[in-house]
Symmetry: C2
DNA sequence: CTCTATATTTACCGAACGGTCAGTAAATAT
DNA sequence: ATATTTACTGACCGTTCGGTAAATATAGAG
């Protein structure tokens, strides 16, 4: 059998790519080293040579992805001035980011389920810039000041994250038939987030 | 060694309970029949005798839990009149339900990750009653009519679900230090959902 | 009391698991 | 030219995997 070209970096990448796809799709426990070797067109021993153990490989997969995710998001969250419109645009950008990267969503979910502590540090780093901008928007009188900015952030992030986590499930609902499934929901959420669900001036005690 | 009492139903229950806990905590692939036998104080062969296969056991675990979850929720969503306050109460009740049942949240998440189609049918059944009440609230002029009721529902459910899915992660944030972590967030969300994030009468084009 | 159905137990299976290891070959340093 | 390092290979290890078959015990029906 023809030998692999001797290129450690390329091999590591092939393995990481294959492992990421399989771990995201089937989960850690349901993914075997043999399957990763097959998909990456390498060898089981090569995986262990480069990454030490299956557990360490999983860690490496998460780190690579969350690193780049964190970087992208810090950039995204720091762009623009502090105006209502810019905040809407940032929300849209976050939506687009997850929309275009289903594997990332799966990986995030699996990391959450494992209560991966390292993951929580990433989260604080990547989101703190947005929290800060929301706080500034409150000080500028653009957003209501009586909700902690971290809560505002979490409402945005939670709605969007859960939308893509569970999309496969409610995309079959008859209620939601639409060719703009994602976009319609995003528009609804933005409308609601900034303007609220109540009919203005309507009777009824403020909840 | 003392023999088990010959009680099929009790044995099935013991196995289901143990399997539910382990599957929720570690996932399907990372849970072995041996571990389930150990935790349920039965035998591996008993599991296969009563449930056929590991896959079938996982299915049985999900069905049992989602069945009762669906029933509870249909009740919850049909109670009360159609008023703003009742809708707030229902939202709070849903929050309390997930708050009191971390295993359920984990199980739901894992079912989502597997794109379990059966799970989506449960979802449509359990949530349709709430969608209907939201629609009535719109017709009664209580909620704004220009957002599809299914979207309103999904915003509520997504925020709450994701809050408990990822709680372990952002509960460590310095931003959120609080002894009423859950309750504070719920209050913020309800405020925002019904009143919006914008300062009323503020300049800036509606998004 | 006996028979029967089946819950429970033990023993066992082949396959697949994660991981080790000795050996080969290519690049790099000396 | 030679020594050292290291990417790579394939054979191999002990364990655990999900699942099967047969033996055993027991509750309930006749």
């Amino acid at each position: 059998m023809a030998r692999r070209p001797r290129d450690a970096e390329a091999t590591r990448l092939q393995i990481l790519d294959a492992a990421e796809a399989l771990f995201a799709e089937h989960g850690f426990g349901s993914t075997s080293l043999a399957a990763i070797a097959r998909q990456s067109d390498t060898h089981k021993s090569l995986i262990l040579h480069h990454f030490g153990s299956k557990e360490d490989l999983w860690q490496a997969v998460k780190e690579r992805r969350f690193d780049s995710f964190t970087r992208e998001q810090k950039d995204m969250f720091q762009r623009g001035r502090v105006t209502l419109d810019e905040i809407v645009q940032t929300t849209r950008a976050y939506f687009r980011l997850l929309q275009g990267d289903p594997v990332l969503v799966q990986l995030l979910t699996r990391a959450e389920l494992e209560k991966d502590i390292g993951c929580s540090q990433y989260d604080e780093v990547r989101l703190s810039a947005f929290v800060e901008r929301l706080r500034q928007a409150q000080q500028a009188g653009i957003l209501r000041p009586d909700i902690p900015p971290a809560h505002l952030l979490l409402i945005i992030v939670n709605v969007i994250t859960q939308w893509f986590e569970a999309r496969a499930i409610f995309s079959t609902w008859s209620e939601l038939e639409s060719e703009r499934l994602d976009d319609d929901f995003l528009d609804s959420f933005i409308k609601l987030f900034f303007q609220g669900a109540r009919v203005p001036g309507q009777a009824g005690a403020a909840p």
